[in-house]
């Protein structure tokens, strides 16, 4: 879709506050998304957030002896859709068991995909023009939820001072896609942009509701640093508990500085899991990863392989909605600007309107300006594009000033009426230039001292006085004059006087 473009990775480095050395941050993100299916991954219990504990459970998702999993068709559909949206190749895949004991996991193994995942080798093009590789996006099951209790009253939901824990398995078996990004990210800001873009893709495809606050989109970051030019990557830490876009950016930048600090003071970075504390604004040490986990992966014997046909994949592609990156390219091309300049228009979901208005003959620059500045209101997307095109044409012909245009536009969104009707009703008459010039000359005459200062003064002085004269003229014309034209006439007069 968008691979024609030549992507240049922005060179992002950080300067050490203590030594002034240049460091590179290397980040790979793992994002888990809950899929927006009606039922769970392997059973027909509702996939529903916020219900009474242990009400959405059955023998399968409770891992009761004798129960067996059956794969949800829609999970495969959504996983493939997401995979194709991430420009992955959809491969024949199998499920595997990841064996480890944990009480929120009913079978004490997680059914996931290991050596043969469904989606491999894709990428996401970010709004800033950078590209982040996707290693894989595989299907796996979610766990239940633990609640940690303290008999002493306090304690809250903290694991460390709990006296006991309570488990709710409503979430156990909810379908997830785990998106494993390549270590292509170079800053907290870029990580935020990546997650933001991924979120937009999830929403555009309808694959997930991607609510970080409800945990339906969860993010872990593998962070390491190296001195600029050093080919060897440092030891990495996996930062967990990144529950918002804001914490992703902050946590990564903080963790990178912590590692730089350690390395510059001659210490080493320990490979470990670290938890982000949003309140304290720092990461704290978790489980050491020195001793390798032994998950004893093997193919899940209760499930059969998944081999999507070429026709199935083609049908997924055919049903694919236009995705954010492609929308930026499309609008950029229509408006004759770089795709990076129209990120906001796409994010607001107004790119369809903008493209159609331009196609209907609207001046691209004015269309983009209106969409960017004057249409951040509800109902904007429903505006008829031809009417927006008419409006900018009226402006371009000088029949409406920019200020009047803005007022008319608001009325158009609210009422759906055409701009000429609204302008007429509001008494917005196009001023002809000779009338305007007469008014300007009157104002100049009435403020002779200021005028001579305007003519002879320095840039600063003139800037100030421009504001003064434009204000006076607007007042005299009851706002019907176009500010740009007024400024142009003032400068003509100054040149003639000077």
């Amino acid at each position: 879709m968008t691979d024609v473009q030549d992507k240049t990775e922005p060179k992002v480095t950080v300067t050490s506050p203590t030594t002034g050395d240049e460091w590179e941050i290397v980040v790979g993100l793992e994002v888990h998304c809950e899929l927006a299916t009606a039922t769970k991954l392997f059973c027909s219990c509702p996939n529903q957030f916020g219900d009474e504990p242990n009400t959405n459970v059955c023998p399968v998702c409770l891992g009761l002896p004798g129960s067996l999993p059956v794969l949800n068709h829609m999970v495969v559909e959504y996983a493939m859709t997401l995979g194709r949206a991430l420009e992955c190749s959809v491969e024949p895949s199998v499920f595997a068991r990841k064996n480890y004991f944990y009480p929120d996991m009913p079978k004490d193994y997680q059914v996931s995909q290991f050596d043969r995942p469904i989606n491999v080798d894709g990428f996401i093009d970010l709004a800033d023009g950078s590209r982040v590789g996707i290693e894989r996006a595989h299907i796996e099951e979610d766990t239940g939820k633990n609640m940690h209790k303290s008999t002493g009253g306090g304690g809250g939901n903290r694991i460390h001072d709990a006296d006991y824990s309570l488990i709710d398995y409503n979430r156990a078996g909810v379908p997830l896609v785990e998106i494993v990004g390549r270590p292509d990210i170079r800053s907290g800001e870029q990580a935020k942009a990546y997650v933001d873009e991924l979120r937009a893709i999830l929403l555009a495809t309808g694959v997930s509701d991607a609510k970080m606050e409800e945990g339906s989109m969860r993010c872990d970051a593998n962070v390491s640093v190296r001195r600029v030019g050093d080919p060897v990557l440092g030891k990495r830490c996996e930062v967990k508990n990144l529950n918002s876009l804001r914490s992703i950016g902050r946590a990564i930048d903080h963790e990178a500085l912590r590692q730089i600090d350690l390395l510059e003071s001659g210490e080493t970075v320990k490979q470990e899991t670290r938890h982000w504390d949003e309140e304290k604004g720092r990461t704290r040490s978790g489980r050491s990863k020195e001793e390798a986990e032994d998950y004893r992966y093997f193919q899940e014997p209760d499930l059969v392989p998944l081999e999507p046909s070429a026709e199935w994949i083609a049908a997924i592609d055919a049903a694919m909605p236009l995705l954010p990156a492609a929308r930026r390219v499309r609008l950029g091309a229509a408006a004759g600007v770089d795709p990076t300049a129209v990120a906001l228009h796409v994010e607001r979901g107004l790119d369809d309107l903008a493209v159609a208005a331009i196609e209907a003959g609207g001046d691209p620059a004015r269309v983009l300006t209106h969409v960017e500045h004057n249409l951040a209101v509800t109902g904007a997307a429903a505006l008829a594009p031809e009417l927006l095109a008419q409006l900018v044409t009226l402006e371009l012909e000088g029949k409406l000033t920019a200020t009047q245009g803005k007022t008319v536009l608001a009325d158009m969104v609210a009422t759906g009426r055409d701009p000429e009707t609204i302008a007429a009703e509001l008494g917005f008459e196009a001023m002809d230039t000779s009338a305007l010039e007469a008014t300007i000359d009157e104002i100049i005459a009435a403020n002779a001292d200021d005028w001579s200062e305007f003519v002879t003064g320095d840039d600063k002085k003139r800037g100030k006085l421009t504001g003064f004269f434009v204000g006076q003229i607007m007042k005299a014309t009851k706002g019907q004059a176009d500010g740009k034209i007024v400024t142009a006439i003032l400068n003509e007069r100054r040149a003639a006087a000077g």
């Binding site: 009474e52 459970v57 009480p103 694991i159 309570l166 059969v304 392989p305």
Partner: protein, 110 residues
């Protein structure tokens, strides 16, 4: 007699006492000293017997995980009945507030 390509089992060192201790830990089984001794001997004998496959050439042979070749077994995404919470919780060793109760969980989720 033995095929150099298929001697994987032979190449594996015999199971040691330390292996048994490690495996017991992975499997969440607490073994006494005598059980460790006994299991080490018994597992070694069983694994030693498994060496008879050395003489089979498995080079290029695909692994067989499923006896009957099926693919794409799927169900419709339609909500079905859940089990009664009380019936399930009645089977649990400890419950509180509609949830399963366990001692404090130390150690993190992998």
């Amino acid at each position: 007699m033995s095929d150099p390509h298929s001697s994987a089992v032979a190449d594996a060192a015999p199971i040691t006492r330390d292996d048994v201790v490690h495996v017991a830990r992975l499997a969440r089984l607490a073994l006494s000293e005598t059980e460790i001794e006994r299991f080490t001997g018994q597992l070694a004998a069983i694994l030693d017997h498994a060496r008879d496959v050395e003489s089979l050439d498995v080079e290029g042979v695909p692994p067989m995980s499923h006896p009957f070749p099926l693919v794409n077994v799927l169900r419709d995404d339609v909500v079905g009945p859940c089990v009664d919470r009380d019936e399930v919780l009645a089977m649990a060793p400890a419950v509180e507030d509609g949830r399963f109760r366990v001692p404090p969980i130390l150690g993190e989720e992998p």
